[in-house]
C-alpha cells in the first residue's frame, strides 16, 4: 500500500525548476535581441561608411573616375531615392551582411540619408566589392557628380556609335564589353542595343529620340552637355532614374537661383551679364519639372545660357 514508487518533488524543487527555466528563457531572448541589435548597428555603420567612401569616388576636375570599394563580408546594398524630402531630396542607403558559412542574410540596417549623392544602379547589389564609376553632370553648368555602382552584373554594348565606344573603352571598365552582334555577348550579361529592336535586347537605346527602353518602360535623356544622363538611364531602372533626375533638377533650381544672384552682384560692380531673363526662364522650367519627358524642353534654355555665357567678358561660370 505504501510502496507506490512515485517520484516525489518538493515544492522548492518545482519552484526552482520553473524559475530557472524562466530565467534561462529570458536570457536566451535577451541575448538573441542583443545580437540582432548589434548586427543591425554594424550594418548601419557599414551603410554610413559606404556613403563616406563614395565621397572620394566623386570627381573634382576629372571627366570621370573609377574606384572600387571592398568589404570583408558578403554584403547586400539597397539603394533608394526620395525626391520629395527637403529642397534636394535624398539618396538612401541600407545594407545587410551575411556571416561566412551562414545562408541567411541579417535584417536590413537603418537607412542612411545623403542629400548630395545621386546613385544610378540596380536597386539591390550583392557582393564583396563595389565598382564605382562617377561622371559629372553639366546642365549647362556643373550640377553634381553621378555615381554608377556595379556589383557582379556585366553589360554588353551592341554596336554603339564610335563616340560612345571610345568613351566606354577609355573608362577601362571590365564590366562593360563591346560587341558587334548580340550573339557574341556573354550569356549572363545585360544586352544594351543601339538603334535595334531585337527582342533579345534587355535595354534599347535610341540616340535620335534620346530615349532608353528597359523592362517595357521608356525614359528620356539629354546628351548635349555631356553623356552622363545616357549612362544613368542605361544603368538604373526607370523609377530610380526619374526620381534621381527630379533631384538633379531640384539641385539645378538652387544653383540657377545662385547664379541669378551672382548676376545681380556682378552687375553692381559694372559687369552686367544680361543673363537674368534666361536664368529666370530656366528657373521656372526647373520648378515645373515632373518627368524625363521634359528634359529636352529644359535643355533649350540651358543651351541659350551656355551660348550667352561664352560671349561674356566676365562669364558667370
Amino acid at each position: 500500500m505504501k510502496n507506490k514508487k512515485a517520484l516525489e518533488f518538493s515544492f522548492g524543487w518545482i519552484f526552482a525548476i520553473l524559475a530557472g527555466a524562466f530565467i534561462i528563457l529570458l536570457a536566451v531572448i535577451i541575448s538573441q535581441r542583443l545580437i540582432a541589435t548589434e548586427k543591425k548597428a554594424g550594418d548601419t555603420m557599414l551603410a554610413k561608411e559606404v556613403g563616406i567612401s563614395l565621397i572620394s569616388s566623386e570627381t573634382a576636375l576629372e571627366s570621370s573616375k573609377l574606384s572600387k570599394i571592398n568589404f570583408q563580408t558578403e554584403t547586400r546594398f539597397f539603394f533608394d531615392c526620395n525626391s520629395v524630402k527637403g529642397p534636394f531630396g535624398e539618396q538612401r542607403i541600407k545594407t545587410s551582411t551575411k556571416m561566412p558559412g551562414n545562408k541567411q542574410w541579417n535584417n536590413e540596417s537603418f537607412e542612411q540619408k545623403f542629400p548630395d549623392k545621386y546613385i544610378f544602379s540596380s536597386r539591390t547589389i550583392e557582393g564583396k566589392t563595389l565598382t564605382v564609376f562617377s561622371k559629372p553632370f553639366n546642365f549647362p553648368y556643373k550640377i553634381a557628380d553621378l555615381l554608377f555602382i556595379f556589383g557582379n552584373e556585366t553589360y554588353c554594348f551592341v554596336n554603339p556609335p564610335p563616340a560612345i565606344e571610345y568613351e566606354i573603352s577609355s573608362f577601362s571598365l571590365r564590366l562593360i564589353n563591346i560587341s558587334d552582334a548580340i550573339e557574341n555577348c556573354q550569356r549572363n550579361s545585360k544586352k544594351v542595343c543601339f538603334y535595334s529592336s531585337n527582342p533579345k535586347c534587355d535595354i534599347k537605346v535610341d540616340l535620335d529620340a534620346k530615349s532608353v527602353e528597359k523592362d517595357s518602360k521608356k525614359v528620356y535623356f539629354e546628351d548635349y552637355f555631356d553623356t552622363s544622363l545616357l549612362y544613368a538611364s542605361i544603368f538604373s531602372d526607370a523609377i530610380n532614374y526619374e526620381c534621381q533626375l527630379k533631384r538633379l533638377m531640384k539641385r539645378n533650381y538652387q544653383l540657377t537661383s545662385l547664379y541669378l544672384e551672382k548676376t545681380n552682384l556682378l552687375s553692381s560692380i559694372g559687369c552686367n551679364s544680361g543673363l537674368t531673363g534666361e536664368l529666370n526662364i530656366l528657373k521656372t522650367k526647373l520648378n515645373d519639372f515632373s518627368s524625363s519627358l521634359e528634359i529636352r524642353r529644359i535643355s533649350q534654355s540651358a543651351k541659350e545660357i551656355e551660348y550667352a555665357n561664352k560671349q561674356l567678358s566676365c562669364p558667370l561660370y
Binding site: 548589434e38 563616406i52 539641385r251 545662385l258 556682378l266
Partner: protein, 178 residues
C-alpha cells in the same frame, strides 16, 4: 497536538524557503538588469564614438568635396582648390543648404597680414572683409574643425577686368550625432 505543531513548523520552514528563493530570484534579476544596463551603456558609448569617428572621417573627405562642389568651385579655370568667393557670399543667406553638407560648422576665411582684425562679410562691406560664416549651428558641440588652404577667387572689373585670387582657408566640422 504534536502533529499540529509539527505541521505548523513544516509550513513555517516552507514559507521561509519560498521567501529565500524569492529573495535570490529578485537579487538575480537585479544582477541581470545591472549587467544589461551597463552592457547597453558601454555599447551605446562605443557606438557614439564610432559614429563620431565616422563623422570626422567624413569631414576630412568632406572639406575636399565641398571645395569642388558646384556651389563653391571657381569654374573659369581648371583649378581644383579655387573657390568662387561671390557664390560663397550668396550662399551665406541660403537656408536650403543648412543641412546639405551634413556639417555643424562651415567657415571660409581670407588669410591676411593682420589675423586679429577679422570682419564678417555682409552686403555693406563685401568684398573688403575676411570671414564668411556659412553654417554655425547654435548649441552645437564643436570640436577642432578640419581645415584646408584654398584660393578665394572673384572677378574685379577695374583695369579692364581681371580675376583676383587670394589665399584663404576653409574650416568644417561634421554634424554631431546625439
Amino acid at each position: 497536538m504534536q502533529t499540529n505543531s509539527f505541521r505548523a513548523l513544516f509550513i513555517k520552514k516552507s514559507q521561509l524557503q519560498i521567501q529565500q528563493m524569492a529573495f535570490v530570484l529578485v537579487a538575480l534579476m537585479i544582477l541581470f538588469g545591472l549587467i544589461l544596463v551597463s552592457y547597453t551603456s558601454i555599447k551605446i558609448s562605443q557606438l557614439n564614438k564610432e559614429a563620431n569617428r565616422l563623422g570626422e572621417e567624413q569631414a576630412t573627405e568632406m572639406v575636399k568635396k565641398i571645395v569642388s562642389s558646384p556651389e563653391f568651385i571657381w569654374a573659369y579655370s581648371s583649378c581644383s582648390l579655387c573657390i568662387d568667393m561671390d557664390k560663397v557670399f550668396i550662399l551665406k543667406n541660403r537656408s536650403e543648404y543648412r543641412d546639405f553638407w551634413n556639417v555643424d560648422f562651415l567657415i571660409i576665411e581670407k588669410i591676411t597680414k593682420d589675423q586679429r582684425n577679422r570682419t564678417e562679410c555682409n552686403l555693406l562691406n563685401y568684398p573688403n572683409c575676411t570671414t564668411i560664416t556659412l553654417i554655425k549651428k547654435d548649441n552645437a558641440d564643436i570640436g577642432i574643425p578640419k581645415g584646408a588652404f584654398v584660393s578665394l577667387c572673384r572677378h574685379e572689373n577695374d583695369r579692364d577686368g581681371y580675376t583676383r585670387c587670394e589665399l584663404g582657408k576653409i574650416y568644417a566640422y561634421p554634424k554631431k550625432i546625439k
